[in-house]
Structures are given as structure tokens and as C-alpha cells.
Amino acid sequence: MLKKSVKIMNKLGLHARPSAMLVTVASRFKSEVFFTKADLRVNGKSIMGVMMLAAEKGSEITIEVDGADEVQAMEQIVQVVQSGFGEND
């Protein structure tokens, strides 16, 4: 199992479009994906779950990935967060 913390740095936070992107990426992998913010832990393959995090700009979330392709999964999820979900600034 891999675990890593990241900061949401895109301007609008995890609003509808970034949430959808995150779920789309997480769903590409066999591994289980979970996101945790404060003490709320949600399934990373569920858009309702990710939306429920209400992760505004600057909030920290912990990514947990567990499964055969966990390394690639973690890499791509972190990448999509750190790219600011492709938003311009």
C-alpha cells in the first residue's frame, strides 16, 4: 500500500470538473484508491465521494493506493493534482 499527502493548489479547489478528472484517472487502475481529508475517508473512484471532501484550495488530502498497479496509479493521481488539473492561472 502506498500513501502520500498532497495539497490542492488549483484556484477553485476540488470543484466539479477537477473532481471528475480525479475520479476518471483513479478508475483507470485496478488498485483501490482512497482519499482522506481531516477524518473523512472516501473512495477515490466515486465522484460523490470526492465531491463530499469539499476540498477547497489549499486543503491537504492524503492519497492511499493499494493493489497490483499501485505505483503507476499513485504517480498519475499525484501528477493530475500537481498539474493543477490543467487549469490556467
Binding site: 470543484h15 460523490m48 469539499a54 477547497e56 490556467n88
Partner: protein, 587 residues
């Protein structure tokens, strides 16, 4: 509960007038009854849930396609997100588990799990988080309506139904429009909400009055005036007939009447043609009529693409919009104004800098000259779409020559790279500017030399010249586009344009004021770009005016010392023209 005639004032969200009967939409407080079910019902409940989800998915898919056809890609994105919410496997698995374990009816389990998701969002201070809760609710209310088995959405409402509710999602508005609702009275949502955007594109009148929806009785007779931002519950006969008259003058019927126009552009009594063009935001129903009649678009406001996407759309998305509008308006022209953001548009977005004085701040062309990537992306999209050779570029709120030159330089850079990539575009595309700041009007000579056309935005020009915000009730009486100082700046700009052979248009609200028409013709304005529902009347009016005679009017008006004096002279002139009706769209 309101029981007798009551006039309420709120905000004008989407223009137009509707007279009819209230239908109160009680979403949010649905009749969700929690029931314990026998173990043998579990499978049936799960199946009912699956069917309701399937129906919702079908509906959203259809709406997305209709919306795409009607208004383009911006709106389809909203439905894409809703489809993803509707089909969330993990969430539905959770609902089914709960149904089986708790032995509760699908309706109540689904509803309570949705609520568990939306509550933390609704409690957030961030408007985007709260907006997500609205998106989720838009989906869940559909699922619940199917899960209960009744209420089909393709059913037409009774004639003249005005819907009353807390807030409606873009999807609901589209489907209510199809079901022939004539107006909306809501308790939430500003002029820049998705709801407002879609409603205006569909020309559906909307008024927002805080807290209203719980106090209007079902079936009550009501009138809403989306232009004034007022509603009358239980109106008397006088209210009814007055608003019916007003509706005839302002309603969407005026758009269809454009079909009757025979001469476009309209011509004055003495044979001088005056261009009447349309101001557009999204591709709405007016487009077909306007483009069929070869009425040019004098102002296409692209910031609505931003608002509908919740973000700057990428190059290809923009390209598709611009190409579509270029193709639709073949044979005439479309002035595309580059993103005009800041101040009243987007000021609430949290990534925009907080400004003490946003009206004098980072708005119009200014942010675009810093966010050059965004600006160049937009220019590239416009240029790629320009092969019909009917597009023009307009830069908003130029306040000095340097801004125009800087923008021109960026445009040249984009052209250079397109050439290098062998991508075709209209090399002669015109680049004009908006004159909305006194400094630009005063320096119009220099700007006219360097721009291909000038367009006067009278709303901002008036507020900056008189230093009065018309939204501020303390000073709104000072704000008046007929003030001689504003008119002198307009005249100066028109003259400067003509000295350099550059056409000058007016695209502020006063451009659509019948009182002002003889004055602007007398001043030599080439184009008046106005709201589509003013076009019919204005074209008709042009024919009554003699362009030689109105020159005297200009002299007399220009020597006035107050806006009131100007108004009086224009009213006298308008009466002399033999018009029995006096139009008043200005205060």
C-alpha cells in the same frame, strides 16, 4: 402566505414579462417517507432504483444533446458532470447495500445518502463547493422523481405556468422551457449564475426575490417583470392590462417580428442606410431569425463561454463556437469581443485578486494583457474560425493607445505562428476597440488611426464620465447617458473615427433607446448594436427619420446643460415625428 395583492421588488435575472399562474416546485422538501420493507421487497426496490437511474441517464443525455444543439458545447459540460454523478458506481453500490441491510425503501435510502454528501458542501464557505451541492441535487431530484413513479418531465404545464422555487438548475430550466413554462420566480441565484445565463439565452423571464418561494400559494395569479425585477402576486385588473401591454412591446414576440422586416439594413426617409446590429451572449433561439435576416452581430460577448464552462475553454472548444457563429452569419459580419472579465463579471471568483476599487481595476483588456496565454489562445481560435472572412475582433475597455498596440502585437504573434503552421485564417481581419473610458474618447483621434473600427460602450462611458454607479441608489439619479458631457464624448469619438475613415458604432443600452435614435443618426453613427428584442422597433423607426433634418436636433441637444433638458428635447422631437406611443426603456 400572501393572500391579497402584493408587489415585491427583487433582482432582474432575465428580462421579459410573464403573466400567469404560480406553480410552486417543492424540491428539497419532498415527500420522502422512510418505510421498513419486507425482505422479499429488497430486490424489487433495487430494481426500481436501477430503472430510475437509467431513466435519469436517458433524460440527461437527451438534454445534453438538445442543449448542445441549442446553445453549444458550454452547456453540454454541465450535463456531463451530472451524468457522472448519476452513474457513480460506488455510490449506487452503497445505496443498494443500505437497502438490503437496513430493509428500507430505495427512495428514502437514496435521499438520505445524497444528503450526507451535500450537507458538508452546503456548509462550506466556498461558493464552488455550494455549487457542487446544487449539481448533485439536480441529479438526485430527477432520480427521486422517477423512483416515485409519477411526474413525467415531457408533460406540458398548463398554459401560462410561472414556476416558483428556490433555485433551478440549467437542466431544469431547459426542460421547463420545453414544457412551456413562461417564467420563473426564484429565491436564490444572482445575475451571473448558470441559471441566469441559460434563462437569458432562452429568453425566459426570471425574477429573484429572497425568501419568496415559501410565501406564494400554488395556483395564485402572478405577474413577473424580469426587466424591472418585480413580481405582483394577486395582481388587480389594472396591473394585468398594463403588463400585457408592456409584454407586447418587450416580449420575445418582438424577435419573431423581425421576420417581417423587409429592408435590412434599414434606410432613413431620405435614403441613408443605418446599420442595426445585435448584441449576443450565447447562441440562443434568436440566432436563427437574426442570421436568416442577415442582421449582423455588433457584439458577441465571449465571457459567457467562460461563465458556462466555469473556466477558460480551450482553443478547440472556442474554435468550434466561433466557427459555428461565423458559418451561421455568412453574408454578414460578427464582431467577437475578447474576454471582458473583472469588475461585475467574475468578481466573486476566488482566484481573482481582491480589489478595493474593481471598477477602476483589473478588468477588460487589462487582465488579458497579463494573462497573455489565455488571450493568445482566444485570438488563435478566432483566427482559425475566420476563414469565412466575416469575423472581426474587438478589444474591450481600451483606456490608452499602449494597450491597443500591445494587443495588436500579440495578435500579430499569433498570426505569425499560424502562418508558420500553414493554418488558414483571414489575414485582413479587422481589429477594433471599445471606447468606454473618457480617456479613450478624448484620445479617439489617435486610437482611430490605429484601430480598424470604434465601438462606444455607453454604459461604462456614462458611469466613468459622471463618476456614478447606476447600481448605487444614492447616485443612480446622476447616471444618465443623455448627459451633455457623455454626448460630447460620443460625438467626438464619431468625428474622430470618420476623420480616419473608420466606422463607429454604439453598443451600450442607450443604442436601443428610440428617443436617442434621431440624435445618433444626426451625429453620423454608422451602427447601433442592440438587444435583439429592440431590433424590430428600431428598424421601423429608422424609416421615419430624415437624416438631414436631424442635424439641427444635434446642434440644439449639444447646447443643453442637463440630461433632463436633452431628454425633453428628444421627447419633443419624437412627438413631432408623429409617434403616438412613447417608448420608455430608460428611467
Amino acid at each position: 402566505m400572501i393572500t391579497k395583492r402584493k408587489l415585491v421588488k427583487g433582482s432582474a435575472i432575465s428580462g421579459g414579462i410573464a403573466l400567469g399562474y404560480a406553480r410552486v416546485m417543492t424540491r428539497g422538501v419532498p415527500d420522502i417517507v422512510e418505510l421498513v420493507i419486507p425482505a422479499t421487497r429488497v430486490r424489487g426496490e433495487i430494481k426500481a432504483l436501477e430503472e430510475a437511474v437509467e431513466q435519469t441517464v436517458d433524460e440527461l443525455g437527451t438534454l445534453r444533446d438538445t442543449a448542445g444543439k441549442k446553445m453549444g458545447l458550454a452547456v453540454t459540460k454541465i450535463f456531463d458532470a451530472q451524468l457522472m454523478i448519476a452513474t457513480d458506481k460506488e455510490f449506487l453500490k452503497h445505496v443498494k447495500q443500505e437497502i438490503a441491510e437496513q430493509k428500507r425503501n430505495a427512495r428514502s435510502v437514496y435521499h438520505s445518502l445524497v444528503q450526507a454528501t451535500t450537507l458538508p458542501l452546503l456548509g462550506s464557505r466556498d461558493i464552488y463547493m455550494r455549487q457542487m451541492a446544487k449539481d448533485i441535487e439536480a441529479v438526485s431530484s430527477r432520480v427521486l422523481s422517477h423512483l416515485s413513479g409519477y411526474q413525467k418531465s415531457d408533460l406540458r404545464f398548463p398554459p401560462n405556468t410561472i414556476l416558483v422555487g428556490d433555485y433551478f438548475s440549467p437542466g431544469e430550466i431547459l426542460s421547463y422551457r420545453q414544457r412551456k413554462a413562461v417564467g420563473l420566480l426564484v429565491s436564490e441565484g444572482g445575475r451571473n449564475s448558470h441559471m441566469a445565463l441559460i434563462a437569458r439565452a432562452l429568453m425566459l423571464p426570471v425574477v429573484m426575490v429572497r425568501g419568496i418561494w415559501t410565501s406564494v400559494p400554488n395556483h395564485a395569479k402572478i405577474i413577473i417583470d424580469g426587466t424591472e425585477g418585480t413580481a405582483i402576486i394577486y395582481p388587480d385588473e389594472h396591473d394585468w392590462s398594463e403588463h400585457q401591454k408592456k409584454k407586447k412591446r418587450h416580449g420575445p414576440a418582438l424577435i419573431t417580428r423581425i421576420k417581417k422586416l423587409t429592408q435590412i439594413p434599414p434606410v432613413t426617409k431620405d435614403g441613408q442606410s443605418v446599420q442595426i446590429a445585435a448584441n449576443l451572449s450565447l447562441l440562443g433561439p434568436a440566432n436563427e431569425i437574426l442570421s436568416a435576416k442577415k442582421i449582423p452581430v455588433g457584439l458577441y460577448r465571449t465571457e459567457y463561454l467562460y461563465l458556462a464552462h466555469d473556466d477558460f475553454p480551450d482553443e478547440d472548444t472556442q474554435y468550434r463556437y466561433y466557427r459555428r457563429i461565423a458559418e451561421q452569419y455568412v453574408g454578414t459580419s460578427v464582431v467577437i469581443r475578447t474576454f471582458d472579465l473583472g469588475y461585475d463579471k467574475l468578481a466573486s471568483r476566488n482566484f481573482w485578486p481582491k480589489e478595493d476599487n474593481p471598477a477602476l481595476g483589473w478588468r477588460g483588456i487589462r487582465p488579458m494583457l497579463e494573462l497573455t496565454q489565455i488571450f493568445k489562445t482566444q485570438i488563435r481560435a478566432i483566427l482559425r474560425a475566420s476563414t469565412q472572412r466575416n469575423l472581426k475582433i474587438m478589444l474591450p475597455m481600451i483606456s490608452e493607445t499602449r494597450e491597443l498596440l500591445r494587443a495588436r502585437k500579440l495578435i500579430s504573434q499569433v498570426k505569425f505562428s499560424l502562418r508558420k503552421e500553414n493554418i488558414p485564417f483571414d489575414a485582413d481581419i479587422e481589429t477594433g476597440i471599445m471606447v468606454e473610458v473618457p480617456s479613450a474618447a478624448l484620445a479617439a483621434d489617435d486610437l482611430a488611426r490605429k484601430a480598424d473600427f470604434l465601438s462606444i460602450g455607453t454604459n461604462d462611458l456614462t458611469q466613468y464620465t459622471l463618476a456614478a454607479d447606476r447600481m448605487n441608489s444614492k447616485v443612480a439619479h446622476i447616471y444618465n447617458s443623455f448627459h451633455p458631457s457623455v454626448l460630447r464624448l460620443i460625438q467626438q469619438t464619431v468625428d474622430a473615427g470618420h476623420r480616419f475613415n473608420k466606422p463607429v458604432s454604439i453598443c451600450g443600452e442607450v443604442a436601443g433607446d428610440p428617443l436617442a435614435l434621431p440624435l445618433f443618426i444626426g451625429m453620423g453613427v454608422d451602427t447601433l448594436s442592440i438587444n435583439p428584442n429592440r431590433i424590430f422597433d428600431m428598424c421601423r423607426l429608422v424609416g421615419k427619420i430624415d437624416s438631414h433634418l436631424v442635424r439641427h436636433l444635434v446642434g440644439s441637444v449639444m447646447s443643453s446643460s442637463t440630461a433632463q433638458e436633452v431628454t425633453k428635447k428628444l421627447e419633443e422631437y419624437s412627438r413631432a415625428l408623429g409617434k403616438r406611443r412613447t417608448f420608455t426603456i430608460r428611467k
